[in-house]
């Protein structure tokens, strides 16, 4: 879908904001590509790629207030983390397991984003366990009458878990200020959607919890942003949650330990590569006159430079001291037993 000036007016976005969205998408792509390369060079232990998901992630996160709203991402959300405010240096410290990694001090798996100041909440590796946390944070915000919302991100596989169901139901009953974002890429690692659920769109389930659900083109950053803005307004005005199902595709294997040739055809991957959300958005920006060849080149150079510099910097940084292994495991500083 080509974007029109009217559509942009509807979304209330300035040219600067459009370029900022594009920049975040490019940055996320470059960080993912870099992590895959570094992993193959033996420099990082494991990597998850968000390539293909940039429109869903940037489009949803762009509608939030960093440091105020609560973000419960999952391991694929590199663009969410970057849009809310994490830097490539911070992401790469997590990837390289460096001492100063804000997410876990180099202890957790890469891409398990956490950032107290930005209210990005650490999650566990088991699928969907972050969703009840998001619901709990939304309940707290409601009980405390705070103008904060909570967003839970997850893939299509997570929708089959009990945690997902219990969260959706609880959020519906208590009309919580939150948004559920399903980054629907059609695969739970190797399990295709038709083996995951017997329906086409998981958004229909929202009706069973008493709140709206929408299915949209997850490769169109503005369509995503528009739906998210509406959902965020709904949450802020006390009308309760929304489920957003954004259909997209993971252009790379699930992780550096996965060989996706075993479960999907090259034709299918190629077909989706043609719908690359970054290419689609860049073309629209050209059509709108917001971007030209020269400014696009400058933007690409800036992104590459930023990721290069972050890589150089983080590679030279130290890993955690061995004697710190037990830090953050037990209560420190002599908590009272009385």
């Amino acid at each position: 879908m080509a974007i029109t000036k009217e559509a942009i007016k509807t979304f209330g976005l300035t040219e600067e904001q459009l370029l900022e969205m594009h920049y975040k998408m490019l940055l996320a792509r470059a960080v993912s590509v870099r992590q895959r390369v570094l992993q193959r060079m033996g420099k990082g232990p494991m990597t998850f790629s968000g390539e293909g998901h940039e429109a869903v992630q940037v489009g949803t996160a762009f509608a939030l207030r960093p440091g105020r709203d609560w973000v419960f991402g999952y391991y694929r959300d590199v663009a969410v983390a970057l849009t809310v405010g994490m830097t490539p240096v911070e992401i790469l410290r997590g990837f390289f397991a460096r001492r100063d990694d804000i997410s876990s001090g180099g202890r957790n798996m890469p891409s398990h984003f956490s950032h107290p100041d930005l209210r990005i909440v650490s999650g566990s590796a088991p699928i969907a366990t972050q969703i009840p946390h998001a619901v709990g944070a939304a309940l707290a915000a409601k009980l405390r009458k705070l103008d904060e919302i909570s967003v839970a991100y997850f893939g299509d596989g997570a929708t089959s878990t009990g945690d997902w169901h219990e969260s959706m139901n609880f959020a519906g009953v208590h009309k919580l200020p939150m948004v559920f974002v399903c980054e629907f890429n059609g695969y739970a690692i190797s399990v295709p959607w038709r083996k995951q659920a017997a329906i086409e769109n998981v958004a229909v389930r929202a009706a069973g919890y008493g709140f709206p659900g929408v299915t949209l083109n997850g490769n169109d950053v503005l369509e995503v942003y528009g739906a998210m803005t509406e959902a965020v307004q709904r949450a802020r005005s006390g009308e309760g949650p929304t489920l957003i199902e954004a259909k997209t595709y993971r252009l790379q294997p699930h992780s550096s330990d996965d060989d996706d040739r075993r479960y999907r055809t090259r034709e299918e991957v190629e077909q989706w590569a043609q719908k690359d959300p970054i290419v689609v958005f860049a073309m629209s920006l050209h059509e709108l006159g917001v971007l030209d060849d020269k400014s696009e080149q400058e933007l690409n150079d800036r992104v590459n430079r930023e990721v290069d510099e972050a890589t150089d910097k983080v590679e030279q940084e130290s890993t955690p001291e061995p004697e710190s292994a037990l830090r953050h495991v037990f209560v420190e500083g002599g908590a009272s037993n009385g």
């Binding site: 878990t161 009990g162 659920a197 017997a198 009706a207 069973g208």
Partner: protein, 337 residues
């Protein structure tokens, strides 16, 4: 003896079958009342009964093939157990924790029905843990090409659990021969449905799993029977699962340990007592000339006598021997090799 003339609104059931339905409902009511009474007399440790749910339980169990289909009930399902073939004696042996209790040899809580011969599968006390069992059994039937279906019962509270969701989703994906029956009595112990889910009818969730869901008047035994018959036919044809929600009401407290005055008004209970499924069906039977007052009274007397005799027999039956306490806990025979 089958009636020659088809009775209007009887869903194709014969006169004898219509009366059998009524008798099973009566028996369930009588057993429930008896268990509560025995508990108050200090003879039974705990009673969890189904008064008010009889139409839903008997109406859904009636189209099943006892000993063939798999029944995965919850603790309120006295009417299901009796319709499938457990006797008042079986139930009272469990209530009084007797040695001869088929469900658990006097070990499990009362109303945790189990009967290998009848394919009634033992469940745990935590709510909805039996949902995955029902889906698993249905998967086994399908993989083995057997003409068996499984039926999973729970209350409205059970629908909020992760187990319920995972089982329904799995049943949808694999088109399993399973029927989920929700006995929606509006309370999960003291939690009202408006605090349980933000929808009017829980049956709409079936759409999200890719199979049909229906809401029926759970106090109308023939409407329940008709909905269940359709679901059973569907499952046997290989067309997959169905969710049936019956709206009903528990006319007594949740259990013998519950005081329902703390969470619901006497007016509300009174209003639903006016919709008692037994009274309603009794009136229907009379209005449609299936039975007269005298015949219906004789069924009441018969049920009362059957439960009296079962009580007497169960009370005289021995409790489990102390030295048997470890039976059924560990593997008892060393496996060869």
């Amino acid at each position: 003896m089958v009636s020659v003339k088809e009775i209007t609104g009887a869903e194709g059931l014969s006169r004898d079958q219509l009366l059998d339905l009524y008798y099973k409902m009566l028996l369930a009511r009588t057993v429930g009342q008896r268990e509560r009474m025995l508990n108050r007399m200090g003879k039974g440790p705990f009673a969890v009964t189904g008064e008010g749910h009889e139409a839903l339980q008997v109406g859904t169990a009636y189209p099943l093939k006892p000993g063939h289909d798999w029944i995965v009930p919850y603790y309120r399902d006295i009417g299901v157990a009796l319709t499938i073939g457990q006797t008042p004696l079986d139930l009272l042996l469990a209530h009084l924790s007797r040695e001869g209790d088929i469900s658990s040899g006097g070990r499990n809580m009362p109303s945790h029905f189990s009967d290998p011969r009848l394919h009634i599968v033992s469940g745990s006390a935590p709510v909805a843990t039996h949902f995955p069992h029902a889906a698993g059994i249905a998967l086994a039937s399908k993989l083995r090409g057997l003409d068996e279906l499984s039926v999973c019962y729970t209350g409205d509270g059970g629908t909020s659990t992760g187990d319920c969701h995972e089982a329904m989703n799995f049943a949808g994906v694999h088109k399993l021969p399973v029927i989920f029956v929700i006995e929606n009595n509006q309370y999960a112990i003291s939690v009202h449905v408006r605090k349980q889910f933000a929808v009017e009818d829980i049956s709409i969730r079936a759409e999200g799993y890719g199979f049909p869901g229906v809401t029926v008047d759970g106090n109308d035994v023939l409407a329940v029977y008709a909905a269940m018959k359709e679901a059973v036919d569907r499952a046997r044809r290989g067309d997959g699962a169905t969710l049936i929600e019956g709206k009903t009401y528990r006319l007594v407290p949740h259990t013998s340990d519950d005081d329902d005055r703390r969470y619901r008004s006497r007016e509300e209970v009174e209003e639903w007592t006016g919709k008692d499924p037994l009274v309603r069906y009794r009136n229907w039977l009379k209005e449609n000339d299936v039975a007269d007052e005298a015949k219906l009274d004789s069924l009441h007397e018969h049920a009362a006598r059957e439960v009296d005799e079962a009580t007497e027999q169960a009370e005289k039956a021995p409790t489990p021997k102390p030295e048997s306490a470890l039976d059924h806990v560990l593997v008892e025979e060393r496996l060869a090799g």
